[in-house]
Symmetry: D2
Amino acid sequence: MSVNTFGHLFRVTTWGESHGPALGCTVDGCPPGVALTEADLQPWLDRRKPGQSKYTTQRREDDLVEILSGTYEGVTTGTPIQLMIRNTDQRSKDYSEIAAKFRPGHADITYHQKYGLRDPRGGGRSSARETAARVAAGGVARKVLAALAPSVAITGYMVQMGTMAADRARFDMAEVDRNPFWCPDPAVAADWAEYLDGLRKSGNSVGAVIEVVAQGVPPGLGAPIYGKLDSDLAAAMMSINAVKGVEIGAGMASAALTGVENADEMTMGPEGPVYGSNHAGGILGGISTGQDVVVRFAVKPTSSILTPRKTVTVAGEEAEIVTKGRHDPCVGIRAVPVGEAMMACVILDHLLLDRGQTGGVRGTIG
Amino acid sequence: MSVNTFGHLFRVTTWGESHGPALGCTVDGCPPGVALTEADLQPWLDRRKPGQSKYTTQRREDDLVEILSGTYEGVTTGTPIQLMIRNTDQRSKDYSEIAAKFRPGHADITYHQKYGLRDPRGGGRSSARETAARVAAGGVARKVLAALAPSVAITGYMVQMGTMAADRARFDMAEVDRNPFWCPDPAVAADWAEYLDGLRKSGNSVGAVIEVVAQGVPPGLGAPIYGKLDSDLAAAMMSINAVKGVEIGAGMASAALTGVENADEMTMGPEGPVYGSNHAGGILGGISTGQDVVVRFAVKPTSSILTPRKTVTVAGEEAEIVTKGRHDPCVGIRAVPVGEAMMACVILDHLLLDRGQTGGVRGTIG
Amino acid sequence: MSVNTFGHLFRVTTWGESHGPALGCTVDGCPPGVALTEADLQPWLDRRKPGQSKYTTQRREDDLVEILSGTYEGVTTGTPIQLMIRNTDQRSKDYSEIAAKFRPGHADITYHQKYGLRDPRGGGRSSARETAARVAAGGVARKVLAALAPSVAITGYMVQMGTMAADRARFDMAEVDRNPFWCPDPAVAADWAEYLDGLRKSGNSVGAVIEVVAQGVPPGLGAPIYGKLDSDLAAAMMSINAVKGVEIGAGMASAALTGVENADEMTMGPEGPVYGSNHAGGILGGISTGQDVVVRFAVKPTSSILTPRKTVTVAGEEAEIVTKGRHDPCVGIRAVPVGEAMMACVILDHLLLDRGQTGGVRGTIG
Amino acid sequence: MSVNTFGHLFRVTTWGESHGPALGCTVDGCPPGVALTEADLQPWLDRRKPGQSKYTTQRREDDLVEILSGTYEGVTTGTPIQLMIRNTDQRSKDYSEIAAKFRPGHADITYHQKYGLRDPRGGGRSSARETAARVAAGGVARKVLAALAPSVAITGYMVQMGTMAADRARFDMAEVDRNPFWCPDPAVAADWAEYLDGLRKSGNSVGAVIEVVAQGVPPGLGAPIYGKLDSDLAAAMMSINAVKGVEIGAGMASAALTGVENADEMTMGPEGPVYGSNHAGGILGGISTGQDVVVRFAVKPTSSILTPRKTVTVAGEEAEIVTKGRHDPCVGIRAVPVGEAMMACVILDHLLLDRGQTGGVRGTIG
């Protein structure tokens, strides 16, 4: 019930503000006996960290993660794992304008309305810096998955920026790590680079769509009716800052399909059913089928922009606001490793939940 | 942690299979002192119940709800409310084909894989009949909302069937109750009627998009980071049978917006901030803004169709399947009252959660 | 977070009032594939049901349990199991006095204070009738334990009534089913019978101590720090009506022991460590040791008595109250099967929780 | 469901091992707008910290608490509060004997059995050092209670050591802070001092009983049936290291009372009902009555003692163990502030939970 926690058995509670001394998370319920050191987590944090290209915020944070508990001699003990990341680049800055005026499209106003006060420094708790803690937790989940379900492979990438969608015909997964957008279509990535450069210079920002795929997920994960694999993925992705839509498999486009088209027909392969298509996104009735689990989510454009926007002040006066500072022109870029981390956590959580209830027994086919 | 429960403080646990003796739900955490009888709930169930037009399943269920606990002399006591609906139309039927073959796009196969057995009669627990329990719970939530937050009004309607979208320029909310699709655009509703008639006759089905709007939601509801109002709505809607995508406000289309376009600019009105647009769908940082809360979800086409589809059997043989029986050609139609019910439950839950933590204190503007 | 639910993975939500149409519970998270019919549950309910001897309430309830969901062809499917018990002996009676006056030592006044209203008929939700639902759930847990951990055997019995304690030197477990007090010491049971007869005639009641032992519990169950096996047992037992104290192993008497006395020394047996004593009650650090899990709890005397007691009315006037009706002179008697049921549920819950996190891997000794 | 979390709305997740770099807790759900700095918490930690008298462990820890998140300019923001305490006195020491042999009465063996490995340094996660985090969280709860329910006053004290009980006729609460045992009976405290001195020198230890009283708790807190105030207190106290029994009000002695004796009779006072006694310990039906909430718990003797005890090794060999090091001869002493902290957390949690469900509306009397 903690509103800063996600997961059923593999539970992650994050804490911390953008400009406080540190942020982090407690990972509870981690299986014991899994090798885990900071070196296993740091590469994932490095993928997310700011300042890696001109397309992300120029804030410089090393985002070094420390494991404060839950391991002994480099192995998980089954007790809570505390992961802490120091905030190192809290430039002294005047936050009085942000404290006084609400940025349109930003959580400034709702935190103020709900809590009566807020930490205006860098967005406080509503800052996307919170996602560093998720990425660290996702790193733990990946290590455990590697031990318990080595078939699972999780990959995220950007499939749309603004109105420009990637072309699946050009997809080459080897390209994902070769451009600053984690895009498998190098042609569209080049277009995005140019487009984003212009946007940034004009003091604007843009949205994006991210796709995250988990391959090798065993069938049988997910718990109907309100702990469905897709419900939990939807909640996980929607909880990421700036996300406004989540799709599984064919997603919103399912509405346009007929039942004949949508049916993922099956034939029998040597190791079980083989599906002719994957409109289901690897999930039926909230339970994994064994096909790729496919999730997409839309990230809205960064709300902190240099172009003046009309707003009101805490005092109730009308005003214009221009948000200076080091902001991502497309916050969707850094959402890629975050989406991967959420996928890893959800898959592992359901793996544990399933073996808790069923003991991992499976119905056979053939 | 119950995987058949949703909600934090207003908690609904549903139970029951399509062809068992009954189904229902336990509503726990309901505030005391609210007038509540079966007559308050039945109208919502009547909206959802099958057999109301030729566009929904011809199964005939009265769906009469009984309150078995939690009220005294027609008033809620604060103790668990048990709502039971007898299953009356369990035609004796031969389920041996469905028991032996998996319907493509249906939960048959995943229940089998996960649990090793399943109740094949009418889909068992994975049947959309489960949603009757949600609608009953939603009726309770509406009564409580009427007492605690009378400004809240919740309306659901269909905005797309197949490839045919409703035209917002033609929206007239008075039309919603005048066509079998709960559509505010009467012109497209007429097109849908003709289209669906043809589909049904050809043994096919189709998907749909539903929109649910909650007006009058006070600002300040929602609990960052993992109990966000939008996260919980995403999970709630994604948990409805056949839903494959969920959007808040501008939704997936946010990706195509620039920050300048997406900013919902504010001016000052007599009662506080006034927004010039609502791309946010009434939620910023997971907390309600006071604008309309707008959710959309896509429902895939019914997977039980008369057109033969390739599949496999439990024995591992390849086969064709034709699903006879009384199935909805567009299961999205009956998802409208279900989506409304989920919205009511989530809004109430967050209202209780907010007053638990903050006592309902609000930051003022002006 | 449902306050009418207990358990982590094997979760039981009870509902219902003493004089409503029915009461029951939803059992969620039950493993699939376990044979289960009403005949498995009824014997446990029969043990708890009233009117079996002159030492319990003369209310006559058949307490017939119906399984409304969660099984198919007599086997659990992994979906929620709804267990319903009709209330059949709701004598029409005048509850106006109980509605107006608060019984000292009874929940009448606190329900009124908290909720502003209460169901006065037979105590409403605060009636010990609620425990019938627990016993039914415990029956399910026993069936699952028999399948997953057949070594587990759970036995409850009364060890003290009023000031008269049973003598462990005389314990013969075969006696438990031979007297109306489930007492392994037949001599004290005879004394109790005579004592209770007198008490009942004088319009008085008395307290008791119940002990519940689970033998054959595998080592390794329990989840530090706040889901400890003993914490969960303490909560489970304390939640039973009228319970005022809970002990594990040596319990409150641990305070009087020295460390030298309290140490349960170990030697090595053919199958692992053998303990020379069991002050720990089978639990160390919140985790089972493999020894007998031993819990005791004290049940206060029934508060509804024929002897006049001073009280106040809802209107705020001073008054005397004499509670007529069919009340247990020693409600502790019927708490025996309830304590057993709670033990069964907690043990099973931790068995599932453990295999969720650890997969049942165990550290070896020797 | 996190097994390292307690609380419903005011939720505390603790983490950390005895000899890791740090330990602490995340407090989630704290109301916003409450003044809070380290200076509010440190005094409670100072009460618990070791090395304050010769009757507690001579380990020296400053136990300085740092607030890493959740406050802004010294006021709570409603976001998670991270409290961290560095472990400063991790003497380099040879833990090979403890790693190889299990201390009788200690969690060594069960952690090994459950997790397959354990952190042997100072007991790892099972060390009583974990309670420092609870005391810090309790300090937060006290600050919030002071703001929301200033009538509440929480006091803990020792009432029994070994076989020597304090005499309530001699109780003087002003004495509690004047002796190293937090005992309101100075005479018995002097006896304990002498007794404990001898025990310590002989390499032995002893148990104790602690009583914690919350005065001024408003009526109506607690949530039947499985979130009862007494159930939650029982779980909270039983989760403290070495606790083996928990009592509410008359506790285990309730068993010896008759209904006539046990009835806490009521008369009418100027501000509502006045009770003639408090066998109920301030709780009826799981809900507070407005009387003092009275909890007692028994703490077993420290299991780490200098007297040799028989045990087995990880390798399965029989052995003797003598536990050297800096151990409390009566760990019950330092359990006093821990019990107070748990009481504060539980009372606040139920205050928030109650206002969530009922809005704080109360039934009137008179």
